[in-house]
Symmetry: C2
Subunit: 127 residues, 2 copies
Amino acid sequence: MVELDFEKMGGLIPAIVQDDASGDVLMLAYMNAAAFQATLNTGHATFYSRSRNELWVKGKTSGHLQIVKDVYFDCDQDAILVRVDQIGGAACHTGYRSCFYRKIDNDGVHIMGSPVFDPREVYKSND
Amino acid sequence: MVELDFEKMGGLIPAIVQDDASGDVLMLAYMNAAAFQATLNTGHATFYSRSRNELWVKGKTSGHLQIVKDVYFDCDQDAILVRVDQIGGAACHTGYRSCFYRKIDNDGVHIMGSPVFDPREVYKSND
């Protein structure tokens, strides 16, 4: 098994989540070693919440799970790419499909697209 | 102008680089505020090298610059997505198109694809 470099960031490694069908980048979150193993073992993208200090099965509250298709790691073994099927069509707790729904250039900030769902109807708590 | 959260990670923010044409995720690197501004101002993806402790214009040595098409930031304002045209066809210093050229599953590690170039012929130093 590969040795990922969790030490560079104090036990965490950044994980990019990409929609397997569209190629859209949905979000970036962090995994510790337990979250990485849970992702491989369960097939549901699992992260470590830096704000709640606990393992976080993405979509456990909302039902918007991320079904793992493939997991890649990078040349330095300090970043992960997870390709997923996004249940419910949106990854962001704001209701947008991708967390990266705002574009920035020298003219300012531009919101791209529209929310897929109303977060007040989907979440009991933020996941 | 948007206030990105550089403080959460001691002055750095993770930046995902995605090929604008194919949608392939090419690499993950880090920007400080100066690298972010340079990226917007010059149109060349610019990072902060954690190993060399300096600004790093991706491809400056190899000629494999990343021409910025669009820059996005995420809901928490603590991650960036840069869509680029990858000059030279490969982002990884190993010669692979993407730094994420290794897939992992419960069977082990699988190398995907082949190097696009021979790094010994392209690099004087690693960028």
